[in-house]
Amino acid sequence: MSDSKKNNGNTRTIRVGALARVEGEGALHLVMNGDQVEKVHLEIYEPPRFYEAFLRGRDFKEVPDITARICGICPVAYQMGSCHSLEKAMGVFDDLTPEIHALRDLLYCGEWIESHVLHMFMLHLPDFLGYESAISMAEDHGGTVKQALRIKKFGNTLMDTVAGRSVHPVNVCVGGFYKAPDPQAMKNLLPELEACLDLMCELTLFLAEHITYPDLVRDYEFVCLNPDEGYPMNLGGLISNKGLNVSQEEFGKAIEEIHVEHSTALQSIIKGRGEYLVGPLARLNLKPEGLHPRAKELLPKVCKLIGQELPWCNNFLSLPARGIEVVHALALSADIIRNYQLPKISRVPITPRAGWGAHGTEAPRGVCWHEYETEADGSIKSAHIVPPTSQNQITIESDLRELARLLVDVSDEEAAMRCEHLIRNYDPCISCSVHFLKFSRDWRGERSKSLAGASGGA
């Protein structure tokens, strides 16, 4: 739904209803001066949610269950960030067993599978195939949608099995898990898991072969975790393609959070350098060697089909990147489950103490970094959470600035649609970063060529 009006002279405002298929509330405001983009504001006006404030004074054991409530789609990310940080604050991080680390990876795989598949096939794929929504897409691609739903369901089942529930899991605690999952229940997952893995490989190849990806190459600074082994998920320091190489503890000092007038979400920059990008494209570009062999085998086929070797510097390619990550998550899950035996302990004992800990993990949308200070009785003295969408916000605006330059010739309706498509590359969760989107574009100064008549209603 759009609404355009001429303000005065060459200034024009176009408004489009709230952005669909993005979580939260906000607006996009473009100001054009002639053919040049003068201003791009991603105006996030979701009210602050004050999680960091009301965590203060709560017992450390409550934190994973409270932070999980920040988001219904990536609660595990908030649980993992808080657990690892608080384990550092309590001095038990190094006591965590390989079995606990493996179960955490398995739970996270469930969240990646569910979140990625939901976004890819229900929310993002319709953009690429030219449909208004998954509903209209299902008329022509019902089989694909059904296959995707099957995989998404498996992600939920996996989380249910490991952590009691798929929404806001209840089995996660600081130190590990309240109860280790039943080995037989885990083994029972394997047949469906293997079927979903085969399906996801086919679907990823389908995405690579049958979609023409818009071309918007940019010089991003990609940031992700840097584990010693494997693909970024729970462990490791943080690296970038432009020289960032810091420990988890140093990350908070390497970045700066800034407040801008047009957004209730804080924005993040790397100190002395500027914007950066977290998420699937960052992980895939920086750590492809960490992929599970099954995903690693698929990667060159996908690269060949889309005609682009890594690094992928076009965030429209986040769609196949997510596909490869789902294959990775499914294959890794199968390995963990095959090797799973009931562990001797499901969690390490903790004696509360005054301390400080910081740790980020890879939410589906990118690094989600937490920092806590505790009192001697284990209560929270301070809490600090840096979610992925707020880290990406300036980069989204820069992408939009670049895209807007290419859209001067198209109607406002078409421009709004293509901007929304771009924003969905980031699978933004504005309710996490505090929400999203109305669109307006102002024209100032002279417009050249045939632009004056390009916008409906102007």
Binding site: L123, S133, K146, S166, V167
Partner: protein, 168 residues
């Protein structure tokens, strides 16, 4: 499960930490204590997008939710055929987000995919969306009990009558 009868899903949505939005999960809790055989109770919590996961092979669906509908009184219990032209439009009927599709959009998608149950009923309480916190309104406990009885009534009826008999 009653394998001989129709397969019925009761899907409850809501947030137990958001005051009256807890209506759906509270009805699900009651149903787990007294639900008749042959019905599956799913607490979808705040992620209604999971509804599609449960629809395969279902003959009937009862949605239990808290709603905000224009023109409805707060505390009013809504008991209506989902497909009835009299069903008021709900505030979030056309909502899509990264948290998924609204219930209405999921049922549209289910129809496209051939997964839509023949019978769909909405049992909902109209709430004030501005109310926050854990404490529920005075009307909620009674609404939960009445809704639970309604769900049991419909599941019993559906277990003995085909859609055609019901409409006859």
């Amino acid at each position: 499960m009653n394998q001989a009868g129709p397969s019925i899903l009761v899907a409850a949505c809501g947030n137990v930490m958001a005051s009256d939005d807890a209506f759906g999960p509270l009805v699900a809790r009651e149903l787990r204590l007294q639900a008749p055989a042959g019905i599956e109770v799913a607490d979808l919590d705040i992620r209604p997008a999971a509804l599609l996961d449960y629809l395969a092979g279902k003959d009937g669906l009862i949605l239990v939710d808290a709603v905000h509908a224009p023109g409805q009184q707060t505390g009013e219990l809504m008991d209506i055929d989902w497909f009835s032209p009299d069903r008021p439009s709900l505030i979030n009927d056309d909502t899509m987000s990264t948290h998924g599709l609204s219930l209405a959009m999921q049922l549209d998608l289910a129809k496209q995919l051939g997964l839509l149950p023949k019978r769909v009923r909405l049992i909902a309480v109209c709430i004030d969306p501005a109310r926050v916190g854990e404490a529920a309104s005075e009307y909620l406990p009674k609404a939960v009990l009445v809704a639970t009885d309604l769900v049991i009534k419909y599941t019993t009826l559906w277990s003995t009558q085909t859609p055609e008999q019901q409409h006859a």
